[in-house]
Each structure stands twice: as structure tokens, then as C-alpha cells.
């Protein structure tokens, strides 16, 4: 097996062997958004790669009013 056979992943420390990293995920669910965070952590406990994906469940709204005349 040569080094090209080992899956690597890009991190803050450059390419690192994926098998040497711990993978953790975290979910946050609210009425406004759902967030998925994935972390790759090296043997020293440092987060060397972290991505975040947010689904905006609902945008923002404005309400217009027209005056009632004669009241």
C-alpha cells in the first residue's frame, strides 16, 4: 500500500490522513434555522477542519398597512 491509497482530507494543517482524525457532528434546530456542524479533530484534540451548513427555514417579513379613511 502506498501513500496514495490512504484517503486524505484538507485541514488547517494541510492534507491529513482521514483515518487519524476523529469525526464529530452537531445539530442545532430552531424555528428559524437548522444547523449542521461537522468537525474533524486530530489526536491532540485540535479541531483541524470544521464546516457549518445552515438551512434558513423562514426568511423575514414586512407588513404594509393602508389607512382607513373616514374613521
Amino acid at each position: 500500500m502506498n501513500e496514495l491509497d490512504e484517503p486524505l482530507i484538507w485541514t488547517i494543517k494541510g492534507n491529513m490522513p482521514l483515518a487519524q482524525l476523529r469525526y464529530e457532528t452537531e445539530w442545532t434546530v430552531t424555528d428559524e434555522f437548522i444547523k449542521f456542524v461537522e468537525k474533524h479533530i486530530d489526536s491532540s484534540g485540535e479541531v483541524v477542519k470544521q464546516s457549518s451548513h445552515v438551512y434558513d427555514r423562514v426568511g423575514v417579513s414586512a407588513r404594509l398597512f393602508s389607512a382607513k379613511l373616514g374613521e
Binding site: 484538507w10 485541514t11 488547517i12 442545532t28 430552531t30 428559524e32 434555522f33 444547523k35 456542524v37 461537522e38 479541531v47 483541524v48 477542519k49 470544521q50 464546516s51 457549518s52 451548513h53 445552515v54 438551512y55 434558513d56 427555514r57 423562514v58 426568511g59 423575514v60 417579513s61 414586512a62 407588513r63 404594509l64 398597512f65 393602508s66 382607513k68
Partner: protein, 151 residues
Amino acid sequence: MANSNAMCTSFKRDLLNGVHVFGTGVIRASTAADTFRAALYLTTASIGASTTAYSATGEVSGINYAAGGVAVVNGTPPAASGTTAYWTPTAAFLWPTVTLAASFDAVLVYNSSQSNKAVSTHTFGPQTVTAGNFSLTMPVNDGTNALLRIS
């Protein structure tokens, strides 16, 4: 059917399309849609309803993040449902392979065709990104969930 007191739904949609001008308008180069962008802001910033235009103050910075953010994909014109006019970008906002070490929690959508004037701000809880991706997927484009709604 009796008459009623109402703000016309077509007017709300027309506002999103820049049809009516009650004050001083702007000179447009064409009838094409404006170009919009999305920029990320630190948790220490204070963007919100009082924001009038894009500013680099409080904007995130880091590896592979360009000041001013990313272009918003605008493939679907404003629509109306019931008495609500609405609009949503047609693609997620995506920042690939970035490192944003300082915590951020908000995005500003602004009009880069009109002096970077602010459109809306949206928060999504604090996070950082390390040699990874940050994506912000848009809500369903309807009268209840769309990114921008005028009711």
C-alpha cells in the same frame, strides 16, 4: 362582493420589482434585475433593521473569504400568494474552503447595483469555520417561508 380597504397585493409585488416611485428615484441603466450580494458578519457586529448599506465594519475575514461576500443567484422574479408578495434567491449562499476563526452569526443581503444599499439581515446562531465550507440554504420560496415577504 363588497369593496374593502386593502394594500393591493400587486402593489407589494411591484415594490419588489421597483415599479412605483413615491420619492426620488434612481436612474437605471436597463430594465434588468439588480445584482445582489450576501456578506457575513461577526457576532460582535450589530447589523439589523437600522442597517442602510453594506459596510466592511464587522464583516468576517479569513482565508478564502472575499470582502463583500458572494453574489446572490436571482433566477426567479418576485411572486405573490394570497396577499403576500415574496422573493427568494434560487441558490444557497456558499463559501467553500474558508477559515473564519472569529465567531459569526449573521448575513446581510444588499444591492450592489444601487450603492450597496441594504435589503435584509438574517441570523443563524454563532459558529466558526476551519478549512471547511459554510453554506446557507434558502427557505422554500412561498408566501409563508420565502426569504423576503411583504404582507
